[in-house]
């Protein structure tokens, strides 16, 4: 692996970065929402639809066989990427949100009884909070919420106290999309496992930024989306330990997940097919595989080093801006920065930055409880990917200064 990233070569791989917005060069800093795609991914989709397209698994003909082999190879690639023990522990879903919903519904049915608890943290994305909240409602039960402190760091003592209420399931983000906090998930999983509680990790924000080893973490489930890691939209992954997936009831029904059917009785296919109802998104899966290979080729170490350098530089520069407050100052932090300037509304700032060519996100980032905690309407969020540059940080800083002056 190359410890140094050739960022300008990387930028050349991403067509979307080379456009103008309002006559200004696009500075794309909305990567936590979705990343841009390298040419190889776009071409993979194109090639698939031009020459390989077919429905899979049950086709006797050449195209179908070939697509089936490619699809199952992609599953192996993803399994290796996250270090799953078996490739059939990789379930293809529409994305993180569907992965979490699948587990909430299916593991919920397996484990939950009236009065049981589920434990999440207070920095979860809605997608890893609302499914559990609704599950709790269904089982007439309480959602336990581990606190975080002013810096955005989870209070592990509180987490331990809540664990002692013996929740049936724990669901935690690997990295917070709103604050950038990298949670100590390995430790948190081990704490839960001491009490035999399974843990789902929401990896939506981590898969593009740091190597994942589900066996080392020992997580029971790991969820992520391709589109946040240079891959296509509409496809994602649920990793699950075989011991759970085997026991869990299917989530959706129909298609390949069915084994034998009669009107009296239906039996279901083995893993991973049991959880993949309907025609799978073959093109999406192949595009995701290409994206993951692109990441591996650049190397997680090199990517993380570059992004951390951007984070450090941007943080320092932002702090020099008068009246600017950063939300999320965990010592262990990913390249996501949420901030506000004076009392300026994030929507105002975002609107003007947009007019200067800078794409970033404003609002509550689907993490409303965090905004309530800080008692703010939302933040402006800049989030970096491997293709961002120090020059872009400079453009951002100048733009914030200019916009803030106008808005005060």
């Amino acid at each position: 692996m190359n410890p140094n990233l050739d960022v300008s070569a990387i930028r050349a791989d991403f067509p979307a970065l080379h456009q103008q917005v309002f006559k200004k060069p696009l500075v794309y800093l909305d990567n936590a929402a979705t990343t841009q795609k390298p040419k190889v991914v776009i071409e993979r989709l194109q090639h698939y639809y031009e020459l390989e397209n077919s429905n899979i698994h049950r086709g006797v003909h050449h195209l179908s066989q070939q697509a089936t082999v490619a699809f199952e190879q992609a599953r192996k690639t993803i399994a290796e990427l996250v270090h799953a023990a078996n490739s059939y522990e990789i379930i293809f879903t529409r994305g993180t949100t569907e992965s979490v919903n699948l587990v909430a519904s299916s593991l919920g049915r397996l484990l939950m009884k009236k009065g049981d608890h589920v434990l999440v943290t207070a920095i979860e994305h809605h997608s890893n909070m609302v499914p559990w909240q609704q599950l709790c409602e269904q089982y007439d039960s309480n959602l336990l919420v581990a606190r975080f402190d002013q810096q955005g760091v989870i209070d592990l003592e509180h987490y331990q106290q809540l664990l002692e209420k013996r929740p049936k399931i724990v669901a935690i983000a690997h990295i917070s999309n709103a604050l950038g906090t990298i949670n100590p998930v390995k430790e948190m999983i081990s704490m839960a496992h001491k009490l035999d509680i399974p843990v789902l990790v929401d990896g939506a924000q981590s898969i593009a930024h740091c190597p994942i080893d589900v066996q080392d973490l020992d997580c029971d489930f790991y969820a992520f989306s391709a589109h946040k890691a240079y891959g296509p939209m509409g496809i994602g992954v649920l990793y699950g330990k075989e011991k759970w997936l085997e026991k869990m009831p299917p989530y959706q029904f129909g298609g390949e997940m069915v084994d034998q059917v009669s009107f009296e009785k239906t039996s279901f296919n083995c893993l991973p097919f049991k959880f993949e109802a309907g025609t799978p998104n073959v093109g999406g899966v192949l595009g995701m595989e290409t994206a993951m290979n692109y990441i591996l080729e650049k190397g997680y170490d090199a990517i993380a080093a570059h992004e951390n350098a951007l984070l450090a530089y941007a943080t320092q520069q932002l702090k020099n801006i008068e009246g600017l407050r950063i939300f999320g100052e965990s010592p262990n932090k990913a390249s996501v920065i949420s901030f506000l300037v004076h009392e300026i509304h994030p929507f105002d700032l975002g609107t003007l930055l947009d007019k200067m060519g800078i794409a970033l996100r404003t609002g509550h980032h689907c993490a409303q409880p965090i905004m309530d905690f800080y008692n703010i309407p939302g933040t402006v969020r800049a989030s970096f990917a491997m293709y961002n540059t120090f020059e872009e940080v400079d453009v951002l800083i100048q733009a914030i200064k200019k916009a803030s002056a106008m808005l005060r």
Partner: protein, 140 residues
């Protein structure tokens, strides 16, 4: 002034600027002239939702005409609200109900009409027309 001539005035004001930043500067300035809603009306009842920023809107009726006051927590939104108030306020209910919003296009605020950003703006217009409708029914 007729709605058309007010709209033309607004278009003229904006057309003197080429640069986006200047247009937004103007909008921000205009925000400061928004007829302020009275504190007693700045409640959830008068809140228009569907936008990243919040807007409070109040309407009253005098001598056949509708008068609007408003506020917002975001300055640019307030500028846009003010534009709408300049167009809609002091008009008859019928004039309000028939208004054509083409001028927003012409000054380049069309993107504020996009489903995202300006659910807010659309809701605002809808709300203004609803007030007009109610006053018309009550008084017509």
């Amino acid at each position: 002034m007729s709605i058309e001539s007010i709209q033309q005035t607004i278009i003229d004001e904006f057309s003197s600027f080429d640069d986006w930043m200047d247009k937004y500067n103007l909008l921000i300035e205009m925000g400061k002239d928004t007829p302020m809603i009275e504190a007693q009306y700045k409640t959830n009842n008068h809140l228009i939702s569907g936008c990243q920023s919040r807007v409070w809107l109040h309407a009253s009726y005098r001598d056949g005409k509708v008068y609007f006051t408003a506020d917002s927590d975001a300055v640019i939104t307030k500028g846009i609200v003010n534009l709408l108030i300049r167009v809609f306020s002091e008009q008859t209910p019928d004039a309000i109900l028939n208004v054509d919003l083409g001028f927003l296009d012409k000054i380049g605020l069309k993107e504020h009409l996009s489903p995202t950003r300006s659910n807010g703006l659309l809701s605002m217009v809808k709300q203004m027309k609803m007030y007009a409708q109610v006053f018309k029914l009550k008084n017509g």
